[in-house]
């Protein structure tokens, strides 16, 4: 009697389990394929029907680091994306706070102006950016991409964080002001801890945008400031696509994002569902 009530044994539950399993397999398969291809030899990678059992080899990775300069690109990517994400988060959150809390005249126009950066397709701005960067002498330096990524991340941060901040009842901050905090202390000690889930969710998304960005990185860099997506694209050669190399680059590119998401997991679930703060 009791065992028949256990949810695991109901036929419907088994069906759900199977469906969930199928969905997971469907979404995981490309990742498995990428990871396994990166460990295959050049010969195995292109065979049809595909080889399921093979002797793993690290030669794609070796090629990636030795011939393609992936280590420099990895460092560039981390440096550029790390700094631009931090800058966009800091400036964007403070701007969002001002837009959400202070009586700024014409703040809706201002917020729309910020958003309008996002409306411009990057391809439109890339040639002018190239010319300006050349003239300023910052072409092929990390600073150029840092500036570009910060700018393109800002509108997203401002708009999303504005909603998160508005979700926090103003009386909580006012209570802090009355309890003896300055405006900055109230923000730092009360508002910021409550914003953490939102900050984490926003940060991961801004990081991923910048991490995967290819167009600007390919045109505004030539050698010194190359980022990972550019290196990964180099695996596609004029005559043939080196699938093993491309897969190895793919794995390398995915790793930091996976690590970041795992680290932020605790906040992400709450942050992505909004309304995380209730008095």
């Amino acid at each position: 009697m009791r065992s028949s009530l256990r949810p695991g044994l109901k036929p419907v539950s088994i069906l759900y389990w199977l469906m969930a399993l199928a969905a997971t397999a469907f979404f995981l398969f490309p990742i498995y394929w990428m990871a396994s291809s990166s460990l295959k030899s050049d010969l195995d990678v292109g065979t049809y029907p595909p080889v399921w059992l093979f002797t793993p080899s690290l030669h794609s990775y070796e090629q990636l680091f030795k011939e393609m300069g992936a280590l420099d690109a990895l460092w560039n990517s981390c440096f550029i994306v790390g700094i631009s994400t931090c800058l966009a988060m800091m400036a964007g959150t403070l701007a969002a706070y001002a837009l959400a809390r202070f009586d700024v005249s014409g703040k809706n126009v201002l917020a729309f102006e910020v958003l309008s950066i996002r409306m411009l397709p990057p391809i439109v701005s890339v040639i002018p950016l190239f010319i300006i960067a050349k003239q300023l002498g910052i072409f092929d330096t990390p600073w150029l991409l840092i500036a570009c990524y910060t700018l393109s991340g800002l509108p997203f941060v401002v708009w999303v964080m504005r909603v998160f901040i508005q979700e926090i009842p103003q009386s909580i901050e006012e209570a802090a002001l009355i309890d003896g905090c300055s405006h900055f202390q109230a923000f730092w000690r009360i508002t910021l801890p409550l914003l953490l889930p939102g900050l984490a969710a926003t940060m991961v998304i801004v990081f991923m945008f910048a991490w995967n960005e290819f167009l600007l990185a390919s045109i505004l860099t030539s050698r010194e400031a190359k980022t990972l997506p550019v290196i990964a694209a180099n695996a596609i050669k004029p005559k043939a696509i080196s699938f093993g190399l491309a897969s190895a680059a793919g794995v390398l590119m995915s790793l930091p994002v996976v690590v970041l998401v795992l680290m932020m997991q605790r906040y992400l679930v709450r942050g992505l569902t909004l309304g995380a703060v209730k008095g």
Binding site: I172, A175, P193
Partner: protein, 365 residues
Amino acid sequence: MSVDLSNVYKRFGNFTAVNGVSVKVEDGEFFCMLGPSGCGKTTTLRMVAGLELPTEGRINIHGRDVTYEEPRHRDIAMAFQDYGLYPHMSVFHNIEFPLKIRKVSATERRRKVVETAERLGISEFLGRKPGQLSGGQRQRVSLARALVRNPRVFLMDEPLSNLDAKLRASMRAEIKKLVSTLGITTIYVTHDQVEAMAMADRIAVMSKGDMVQIASPLQIYDRPRTQFVADFIGSPAMNMFPAAMQKAGRITCSLQPFADALPAEERNRAPQVADSGGQLLVGIRPEKMTLGAVGGRHAVDASIEFIEPLGQTTNVYVDAGGQRFVVVADRVTEKAGDRVGVYAEPEHLRLVATQQVNSRGLGNA
């Protein structure tokens, strides 16, 4: 510590939220600002707290001009309608927070938090988060956080309006007892006249940014200055009948027997109460009227429309030639449709100003 507002205005664009309010709240006084929503009472309180800055006027706390001071330099505490508790901190840390910001030592903090929590009966919840408490418990925590640092002035913005009726009544008594024991100057904002009447030493009735009348609860009940105050205080509201002051000093009223019954002392006030067109109102509280025989001296003949027996009292709704009003009696034997004579106790008949009168022209008692 007294709080002194002089000629304080607050404008938001073209809208005037607070229209030149002047009042002095005395040391240790329980002062209530009462009015419907949008009358400027909360804005006034927020200006005292420093959460809004006045457009014009000065605010003094204990003789020191704090008009443009930050809230933290005013030595005030505040309880909010939605409690304003920090959701990420435990009850203990919530109460401790104002002491921590003021860099009080850890042992002293602990002692004060425990002591205050005990006084408010929330000792057992110290480890919980605000989200795990009921409305009444949260309000206690917010009171504890306000009281833990012995503030000079305690501001409360409708602290009981999110609680159910029964809890509200008991918290009302508790708050009143607490602040009067501690002797803290308290400014309390509410839209609930019963709350204001029960707790306040003095009430300011506010309407459209003006303090229409400032007086003790009973004075406001017995002698409302304007139609607005008379309408707002008391349930059922005061009965009011349109009247006019004639040139010879005679007062005519839509129900003349009531005007005729006015005592001389009240009659002499007519010139101050009447508006520029000589219009005013004759008012009387429903419980100061009695039902009797038809045709008596100073009686108004009326027919009973319907009766509400409430147990303790009975509301009798009557119609006297198109003038509808209510009489509150103990128990009645009359039935709907009966003809009765309605008598007003002469010493309780009042002259009340119509709303057109500029309230500030009346001065404050």
